[in-house]
Symmetry: C2
Subunit: 132 residues, 2 copies
DNA sequence: CCCGCGCTACGAAGATCTTCGTTGATTCTA
DNA sequence: TAGAATCAACGAAGATCTTCGTAGCGCGGG
């Protein structure tokens, strides 16, 4: 008897590239996604199609077959997926400490003034013990 | 003609598990690594050996063959590897914005008072325009 | 001296990922 | 309406990852 996947698996690199297009454009056809990706990626049409078919099986995306050109949409929000990926990385490489990760991230890639203000605001909230 | 890898590739999950043992224990034999991993992982001895051999080819680790039981050590520091993994994730999933990642990380997993102070200190430095 | 144990090396199998060619069906158009 | 364009489906190939069985070597104990 086959196991039933309880949660969506971690998207691979190619799958994440597709998800980013879907998050950015909203529900899209294979052609839509392919045209965006072909610029940066150079991947063929049927490659994108196959990926989307597999992602449908994996339940990373949902497919609307009402029209001849099926319309795909990301199943999980960008935000939620980012959190999952972060959680994975924290566990796999940072021993579970998100603060360590934050320090690395900030020292690696400078953020803008405005972004830093946003982080300070969040710190303030956290120190007040407020839940998010 | 084969291309010469200019930088070490991104470690896979299994490879990262081994690297974490090496970072924690320092230079170790296959047996050492295997004993640590077999508790949590259940992986066989020759599996760990094979991984370490491949990681040697990929230059993720260095091997000292002076003794009959070779001694392996991580080639890149834990810190540097963590930065690379973070940079990858920022590019692949966060559109290059490390600030977005920080916000997610902090709101996902609360940090301690002391850790928050560390982050504030770093923010101060960044706002003064100091390089790191 | 010789056997067995610990160790490396090798190769192969199975899984997953990524790619794309081909086929056949549907829709458009001249 | 016939041919062209568009599309989903399928399968297969090649790459990488992970696993482990087996072979072969050297060392140490009996």
């Amino acid at each position: 008897m086959a196991e039933k996947r309880v949660s969506t698996p971690r998207p691979t690199d190619a799958e994440l590239a597709i998800l980013r297009v879907l998050w950015q454009r909203g529900p899209s056809t294979v052609r839509d996604v392919h045209q965006v990706l072909s610029r940066s990626h150079g991947s063929g049409y049927t490659t994108v199609l196959k990926l989307l078919q597999i992602m449908t099986e994996k339940r990373l995306v949902v497919r609307d077959e009402a029209q001849r050109a099926h319309v795909y949409a990301a199943r999980e929000s960008e935000r939620r997926t980012q959190r999952q990926l972060l959680g994975d990385l924290v566990d796999r490489a940072f021993g579970g400490s998100s603060a360590k990760l934050v320090l690395h991230a900030l020292s690696e890639r400078p953020a803008s003034e405005e972004e830093l203000r946003g982080i300070r605001a969040l710190l303030d909230q956290l120190e007040k013990g407020e839940a998010l």
